[in-house]
């Protein structure tokens, strides 16, 4: 459909009314989550089968594909809009029933309703699901509720109102002081005050300034930026335009999106095209005289490009390596010009702050960290997915009230926060109120918001080794502390999990870790030792058990211990034989047996065994004197 340019804020209001009037009042409509998670579970098939079933039944049905609803674990999710019936784990084969029973007759299909992991009750609507009850959706309010490919739906949901207000009722200085007053801290992880950053760029005299949205979400285990860019791209665009207006002399913006996120790139480009059509990007936006446009840059697979200076070099078409600061980016950034770089979630917060005011924003969260934070809740919890919670919530509330508790009701061991640059939070800090400052005090950090829950069967050393192997591979190699230091630490950690640890390894890790923190060039290096140092701080006994006893208390380190089939419980189903890529499981005299010579201790057999009759057995070996194995620092 062709769209007419909006010449002033009034036009925007008229357009909104126009769309609302046109909206069909009689037809049925359903929302189908088409975020990445639900797509992987077959959401697109659900959309097409709902459409064809509605046609068969002669029903006037609007099927609206939306962005991520958050409850990815239970996807694909379908919501009937008439009474907000919330169905989970919908299969394409369920479409006829949904059309005939729910849409035509208003009956619920029990099987598809979400079952509460705690009470076992079936929930009819989103409000009744415990996963959503404790959340406060400010940034994610549109995610999963609007079609990200339609600017009209965004406008109906109140989109671009903040921009209209800023351009017509506020001066750039007023916009800036509102953001400063809100004390919005950077949601990319470091928590730097966004208003202060904008002010820094505003103060520098330059004819050309840039604003960049950092969507290079490279942290493994974090997908909040992805979901926002996919599910509500206009919110980020609106935040950027307001930022450009506040900073002044800023006519070009870039959104740097990760190459692994094709859907985000696609939706952003569609959104930018629609905003240009309406005149919300380009020359003389809403008649205010502001000229501003945005371009999407696709990353090429380097984690370091999430670091601000590296990201700017990458946009310039160079190798993405950080440079020493100062000068800070707000003074000399992209192409040597003053540049503001904000995270996706930070920018998505701008609209609500302008619209509702700084005081409203500060009424959520804690004094030092106002507002909400989006976390990607993953690991060993029953409800994994995307959550938005007020700052100051406790880890216990997140795990047990929102996440529905630990899978199989096992014992909680630690929460890993902040990805490869963060640390872990053990059981004794379950009731810690999380915000930027409190996490720093316990040796973790907010990071971008990855929150991985671990239980008694997870080995903390293996987790630390995993994160370090990631940072070691992703280190750009420019500065020796990071290039050599992370490699050294990884060598030591690998030897520990392989049962070859030596006395003094823990102290060596601590020493190298602190050195790297003190001397690395950029944030990646400075924070790389965090997962290791924080696990040593809280789980030193596990390190000692690995080193001195060849024993993994969690029973997770595959190289320690050996595998055995418990004959009495074995059904001889041969699933393990099929799963073993090394042909180590042999049938002998009517029972299965694992040949230690061929066994690579990969654990594939354990994963498929229906009766859990394959066990990894640990033999606590007494420390041998003089074998290089110390008795551990007791």
């Amino acid at each position: 459909m062709a769209r007419n340019r909006l010449k002033n804020p009034n036009d925007l209001g008229l357009l909104r009314e126009d769309i609302l009037n046109k909206k069909a009042l009689d037809g049925h409509s359903v929302k189908v989550c088409c975020g990445t998670g639900c797509r992987a579970s077959g959401a697109e098939k659900v959309v097409s089968s709902l459409m064809s079933e509605a046609a068969r039944a002669g029903l006037d049905l609007e099927v609206r594909p939306t962005g991520c609803q958050g409850l990815c674990e239970k996807g694909p999710i379908v919501i009937a809009e008439a009474d907000q019936t919330f169905y989970n784990k919908v299969d394409a084969f369920d479409a006829p029933k949904i059309v005939d029973l729910t849409l035509k007759r208003g009956e619920k299909i029990d099987r598809l309703l979400v079952q509460d992991p705690i009470t076992g009750q079936r929930a009819n609507t989103e409000e009744e699901i415990s996963f959503y009850a404790k959340q406060e959706r400010v940034v994610l309010k549109n995610c999963g509720h609007i079609n990200p490919e339609s600017i009209e739906e965004y406008i109906v949901a109140g989109g671009y109102q903040a921009l209209a207000k800023a351009l017509s009722q506020m001066t750039p200085d007023e916009v800036l002081s509102e953001v400063k007053a809100a004390r919005l801290r950077g949601r990319g992880g470091a928590g730097f005050d966004a208003g202060v950053k904008w002010e820094g760029a505003k103060r520098v005299k330059s004819q050309i300034k840039y604003i960049i949205c950092n969507g290079d979400e490279g942290d493994p285990g974090a997908f909040m930026d992805r979901s926002l860019l996919e599910g509500d791209p206009h919110a980020v665009i609106e935040g950027m335009i307001i930022g450009a207006y506040a900073v002044g002399d800023c006519h070009n913006g870039y959104i740097y999106a990760r190459g692994e996120y094709p859907l985000a790139v696609k939706n952003l480009n569609i959104a930018i095209g629609q905003a240009r059509e309406l005149g919300l990007l380009g020359k003389d936006i809403l008649g205010s005289g502001l000229d501003f446009d945005i371009e999407v840059k696709k990353g090429a697979g380097a984690f370091i490009c999430g670091e601000s200076t590296a990201l700017m070099f990458s946009i310039e078409g160079k190798r993405g390596m950080p440079r020493p600061t100062p000068p800070r980016s707000v003074e000399k950034g992209l192409y040597g010009k003053p540049t503001v770089l904000n995270n996706v979630e930070t920018l998505a917060n701008i609209g609500p702050i302008i619209l509702k005011g700084a005081d409203w924003f500060k009424s959520i969260g804690t004094e030092g960290s106002p507002g909400t934070k989006i976390f990607a809740l993953t690991g060993r919890v029953k409800n994994t997915g995307l959550i938005e919670v007020p700052m100051g919530i406790t880890i216990r509330e997140i795990i047990y009230d929102i996440g529905g508790g630990i899978i199989d009701d096992k014992e909680f061991k630690a929460a890993q926060m902040g990805g490869p640059s963060g640390g872990c939070i053990p059981k004794e800090h379950l009731d810690l109120h999380i915000d930027f400052d409190s996490l720093g005090r316990v040796g973790a950090m907010m990071g971008s918001g990855g929150l991985v829950i671990m239980d008694e069967s997870d080995c903390m050393i293996e987790i630390a080794r995993y994160f370090l192997s990631f940072t070691q591979v992703e280190s750009c190699g420019k500065c020796p502390p990071c290039r050599i230091g992370t490699f050294e630490m990884l060598e030591i950690l690998t030897s520990i999990v392989e049962g070859k640890g030596r006395e003094g390894d823990i102290e060596r890790l601590e020493e190298i870790g602190v050195r790297i923190q003190q001397t690395a060039l950029c944030g990646l290096g400075k924070s790389a030792p965090n997962p290791v140092l924080s696990t040593i701080r809280y789980f030193r006994d596990e390190y000692e058990a690995h080193i001195s006893k060849d024993f993994c208390p969690a029973g997770a380190c595959a190289s320690l211990g050996h595998y055995r089939v418990i004959e009495e419980e074995c059904l001889m189903c041969n699933l393990c034989v099929e799963a073993c890529a090394f042909d180590a499981i042999i049938e002998k005299r009517g029972s299965l047996y694992i040949d230690e010579v061929y066994c690579e201790k990969c654990g594939a057999c354990i994963g498929v065994c229906p009766t859990s009759c394959i066990v990894r057995e640990f033999v606590e070996r007494p420390a041998l004197s003089g074998s290089g194995k110390g008795g551990g620092a007791k």
Binding site: E260, A300, E578
Partner: protein, 169 residues
């Protein structure tokens, strides 16, 4: 930081459609900041970056070949050798790792007889890892081509890919 790929690129005298690359690159002339974008475009067309294509890029941008190769080799998404028909990426993000991605990766490597990062000799399969595809809630996941798959048994995954191929033929 991968290993130097010079050797790999030197022995390549692959036949590829030079004209299509030339037409593609004309739009980039004189825009040095678009280098990464141009590399992405060429790779999208050819599936990898042969030496000749990088030389053409260097020529268009008026840069040295070593500069172009230096930028391309910095980023993980650029490949200098042809890849298999089916690209299997095992997600090794945190959630997938915690839920057993390594088991799947080892299983696939054993099944295909290649290490992660390699391509099978019949050019059918390339096995790779990816840091995180943002499907953490469904962990562990494997990406086949562009599709995220929840199939976790290596043998079944490979046979389903082969079946899909046979179906096409």
């Amino acid at each position: 930081m991968g290993e130097c790929g010079c050797k790999q690129t030197q022995d390549q005298s692959e036949v590829f459609d030079i004209d299509s690359v030339r037409i593609l690159l004309e739009g980039y002339r004189g825009k040095e900041e678009e280098l990464v974008h141009a590399l992405q475009d060429v790779q999208h067309t050819l599936g990898y970056l042969p030496k000749e294509a990088m030389e053409m890029i260097a020529d268009v941008f008026n840069l040295s070949f070593s500069h172009v190769y230096g930028v391309a080799s910095f980023y993980a998404h650029f490949y200098f050798v042809p890849r298999g028909k089916n690209i299997i990426k095992v997600c090794t993000g945190t959630a997938c790792h915690v839920r057993g991605a390594k088991t799947i990766l080892d299983g696939l490597a054993g099944e295909l007889g290649i290490e992660p990062g390699q391509t099978s000799s019949d050019m059918e399969f390339t096995l790779e890892t990816v840091s995180c595809v943002g499907c953490c809630a469904l962990a562990p996941v494997v990406v086949v081509g562009e599709e995220v798959s929840k199939e976790r048994t290596p043998k079944r995954l490979i046979s389903s890919i082969r079946e899909a191929e046979d179906g096409k033929e």
